[in-house]
Homo-oligomer: 323 residues x 2
């Protein structure tokens, strides 16, 4: 993996990806005690950064492989990103999803034209299911994070951050990224290492699912004890990837761990001050920026709001909690 | 008023205004039966397009007038736009607000450094109060819409729409604009008449407060029977302005009238499909696009989501209504 792969993905995405804005509010600056800039990837097509990786992977496939179709397993956002990219590339698409994923994500994926296969995430292994279906039907498996073309696609978000931070006159800052398997985190870290070396990526995770923070600390891949059971379902993975972890090790600073309640409170602040909708997992970085200010240094912090696909009941809970 | 005044305002705003994105979703296209592009002015600084007019007016004042200070009367969004612009220009700022404005808007205006004076909008005349305070303290009155520099500022939104529609390959479409006194509507109409003559502005208003639609129909300024009593408070005015009406007469097609319930449903769709927060008055144009498709023609429609400052209780009501 290198930054040239990200630049190549950026060319393939150009004209299709939404160049998402960097938002801010003096009210959020007051809470954090420094400038807070929010990269609003919840405004990306399908409501999360996963569109970037999905499009990058689909557009990089040889035509005959695209024609045979693709398969992906995902808690929802990767599914939607791959589904819409497959549809735009006229590729058949099968999505393997956990049966406890938010209903809205399952329905959206079907509505985007994909065939959805559900599995039990506590008792079944999605990798195994994905590999079997791929073999049976001749589909190309598009992994959610440990896949070079996916990492390259997510990295395009980092190229944008580098330009937008420069325009905002921010050259030294932590870049807080909501982190699951590390596809977005490692992609952004690679892009910034090349284009904005003063911007340092910090992975942000919910407590009890802080495999990346622990892995960065110990210097080897650590796993979580459980595969589900967090409101932050969008960024829950068992462990960082074999490809993503070495990149994070080389380019990221230590991780920040937040609580679910902090994520819900960050969602309410994003609603009120930025007028954007973010999901619990997509709020981990903003929660770190707002409620863990002592863990960062400098005059500014950049938080990536990675997604905005959240069931209404959870969003209402977040708003009511902070009234 | 001419487009050169809008281009001049755009130069003064450059580097300060947020160039808001044009959002879309295949799910919204399905509802409307045509492409729907949403200009997300709720993502503007202070959460509405009013920042543009406020900044335009403040930046156009001679330095000695700026130093003496400004005054504005507003249901909330104009107040915040003027307050933040005044603060950035080091100008003292008094805001006259109706006592029934959403609490969040009153508090935000105070937090932005302005002095807030409340009045009863059914029994007091805000123009009179504003004029008196301006005379007593030597302040410059910045009217919410019937003011050339304000119209020029709002018109910068139209310059952006012209460019963004062209990039999206939309050259013939209705541009639906949530309309109160007509500052934004006339500004966008002037800008598009020059830069994108195939885009036709249609004012959108809530029922019972459709003064602009009726005025365009009768050919003379018509008034509403009441000054308050709608969830769409942000776009409630008694009548179109003496400056804005002739511009709308010359450049706008007929108005579209929507119900409050349609605005709430449009808010829920914007939450779910675009991940943006819009207020009831800021949802009138999207409501017209989604629920009055027969009143427009063509393959695409552009709806301006004018603002996103909404009390949590109202937003929750909108989400629960459409569950």
């Amino acid at each position: 993996m290198d930054i040239e792969m990200i630049r190549a993905a950026d060319k393939r995405l150009n004209g299709y990806v939404r160049r998402t804005p960097l938002l801010s509010s003096p009210f959020l600056d007051d809470i954090a005690g420094r400038r807070v800039l929010v990269k609003a990837e919840c405004l990306q097509h399908t409501g999360s950064f996963k569109f970037r990786g999905g499009w990058s992977a689909l557009s990089a496939l040889p035509p005959e492989k695209r024609k045979a179709g693709v398969i992906a397993y995902s808690s929802g956002n990767h599914a939607q990103g791959v589904a819409i990219a497959a549809d735009a590339h006229d590729a058949p698409c099968v999505i393997v999803m956990p049966s406890d994923a938010p209903a809205v994500k399952i329905q959206n994926t079907r509505d985007l034209g994909a065939e959805v296969v559900l599995y039990d995430r506590d008792n079944e292994d999605r990798d195994e299911i994905g590999a079997r279906l791929a073999a049976e039907r001749g589909l190309t498996l598009i992994k959610p994070f440990d896949e070079p073309m996916v990492i390259a696609g997510q990295g395009t978000c980092g190229l944008e951050i580098a330009k937008q931070a420069d325009a905002a006159r921010v050259t030294q800052a932590d870049v807080l990224v909501c982190c699951g398997g590390g596809g977005l985190t490692s992609g952004i870290a690679l892009a910034l290492a090349g284009d904005a070396p003063g911007l340092k990526v910090r992975p942000c995770e919910p407590e009890r699912f802080d495999d990346v923070a622990r892995s960065l600390k110990s210097g080897r891949i650590e796993s979580n004890n459980r595969a589900s059971g967090s409101l932050c379902d969008a960024i829950i993975t068992m462990r960082p990837g074999d490809l993503t972890f070495p990149i994070m090790q080389q380019h990221c600073a230590s991780g920040i761990v937040v609580t679910e309640e902090e994520c819900l409170r960050a969602m309410a602040h994003a609603y009120e001050r930025l007028r954007i909708v973010i999901e619990p997992g997509g709020a981990a970085a903003l929660a770190a920026a707002l409620f863990h200010p002592a863990e960062s240094e400098g005059d500014a912090v950049i938080a990536v709001a990675t997604g905005g696909n959240v069931d209404k009941a959870v969003f209402i809970k977040a708003l009511e909690m902070s009234q």
